[in-house]
């Protein structure tokens, strides 16, 4: 890319403009890592003698709970890495927004179906709303397609 007066070409994100994106990736990534650890530990706790699991499911359910925990650890770790180098993490913002929208959609469907409403109530819709707002934030705060990587 040829040098541009002022340091940044049109459509290129400056480091200060990337600060909100870095903060978003860092905070959401931290929450995902914590949630992933909790889900993974809950699998181990379920198999402990005389356990009293807080998630109302059985061995197959906890199998997928543990898998979700591992996936969240990887996803959150990627976001934390992006928080350190936000200019190089446009793609993770797009993928995260897409996955958050999917997460919101299945919560809304769960609310409509009814079985999950009995378990989680209006929390389903509240979470869906939060995820959709976060998806919008990832969509609009991600860096421009071309970034300066001096």
């Amino acid at each position: 890319m040829p040098p541009v007066a002022g340091g940044y070409a049109p459509g290129v994100s400056s480091p200060s403009a990337l600060r909100p994106y870095a903060w978003l990736c860092g905070s959401v990534g931290t929450l995902m890592v914590v949630a992933g650890l909790l889900l993974f530990v809950s699998f181990i706790g379920y198999h402990a003698p005389n356990s009293d699991p807080r998630i109302p499911t059985g061995p197959v359910g906890f199998y997928f709970v543990a898998f979700s925990g591992c996936a969240l650890l990887g996803w959150g770790g990627s976001l934390l890495a992006t928080a350190r180098q936000p200019g190089a993490g446009r793609g993770i913002g797009t993928a995260t927004a897409f996955a958050l929208v999917l997460s919101a959609v299945y919560r809304m469907l769960g609310w409509v179906v009814g079985d999950y409403y009995a378990f989680a109530g209006e929390l389903l819709r509240v979470e869906a709303g939060i995820f959709l707002l976060l998806a919008l934030a990832f969509l609009w705060l991600r860096p421009a397609r071309e970034t300066v990587t001096a």
């Binding site: 499911t57 197959v60 359910g61 929208v101 609310w111 009814g114 409403y117 009995a118 819709r125 869906a128």
Partner: protein, 82 residues
């Protein structure tokens, strides 16, 4: 352009999420039991239950009519062993 399309789609989902309680769709927990259009629903709150026979934990048939005169508590549970 794509970003604006995605934004419009997400905004639409947000509006749908907010409007869900006011839409007459789906089944929401105990509300479903009170709805008359639930398939196979028998009886309503306050009505006498029709007689039925079901096996107990040992497989012995238990008839509701045989329990007349005794307090009866009926619970409905869904297995979570999956």
């Amino acid at each position: 352009m794509l970003r604006w399309l995605a934004t419009a789609a997400i905004a639409g989902l947000l509006l749908l999420d907010l409007a869900l309680p006011s839409l007459d769709i789906g089944r929401r927990g105990s509300e479903a039991a009170l709805r008359s259009d639930v398939p196979h629903a028998v009886g309503r709150v306050g009505e006498r239950l029709p007689d039925f026979t079901l096996p107990d934990l040992d497989g012995t048939p238990v008839r509701l009519a045989d329990l007349r005169g005794h307090p009866v508590l009926i619970t409905f549970e869904r297995s979570v062993d999956w």
